[in-house]
Symmetry: C2
Subunit: 175 residues, 2 copies
Amino acid sequence: MEIKVIKTKFVGIVATSIDGRISQSKQSSLPWTSKEDWNFLQKTLQDFDAVIVGHNTYKVAEKNLKKRNTIVFSSQKHLSRGTVKFFNPKQADIKLYIKEKRYKKVAILGGPKVYNFFLENKMLDQLFVTIEPYVFTTGVPMFTGDKFSKHKFTLLFVKKLNKNGTLLLKYKYGN
Amino acid sequence: MEIKVIKTKFVGIVATSIDGRISQSKQSSLPWTSKEDWNFLQKTLQDFDAVIVGHNTYKVAEKNLKKRNTIVFSSQKHLSRGTVKFFNPKQADIKLYIKEKRYKKVAILGGPKVYNFFLENKMLDQLFVTIEPYVFTTGVPMFTGDKFSKHKFTLLFVKKLNKNGTLLLKYKYGN
């Protein structure tokens, strides 16, 4: 009997200011990224079987996420609503859940604690970073970790998305 | 009589992790950037008449800064030690001081409050950002402002500095 092992790929996708801020505040729903980044995101998500977001990100993007397989990290009890699954990663193993669902490519869409969860658990295989040409000076940082660590990535490519200089970077974890 | 007006150019130079962190802590003196970034910095500073740093950055980089015209933002009384001038920007006008000194190109080397001072006072004409391929998840952010604002920049160029994918970006303020 042949056993097929599915190795799921987890890919962080994030849009940031030059100074590493991803939004004004946790509940902020003001869209601020370029349409070129939006187009990139929509096109890229077609390749993914599911997305994972935190509760705040879900509330902000609910309308756009409902049509996809969406896992919302939440302290609530596990429950499902259509394509949306609320999941508490402290009570159950997300890796196991993804495996059971046979998702091969999962996009991590934030916020900072969710990106951090996958990084700390050595599950963040790749990272797309869109850098919009702004400095915010304050706001929500890309990652929120408890302890400083030099997590090494390797740049795969860099692409200019528009004339203003919105940049798309792609990294893989490790060397 | 001809009056020559010197318009000083202020250029921020910063090295950051992918997630917008410039060091582990304010007092951290551990060098963490690539040698290619270090070479870029040393070569670029040759074009500048003076550098401006905050007190923490000065303490960390004192040895390297002493040989240059260095202005240290400080709450101490104004005093000079060789090429180093301690300057309180709340008590005196830095623009006027630079003008008197006839400095044409001044490099802002951080930390976050110093970068922010020049940005908020609309004096940050250009910004070099070196992105090293790490995620820190915590640490000192690039800018520390009091209020959120979308300060618009325009990308002038992007350059890969080494095989790991250290990137050098150059921006100008505004459109």
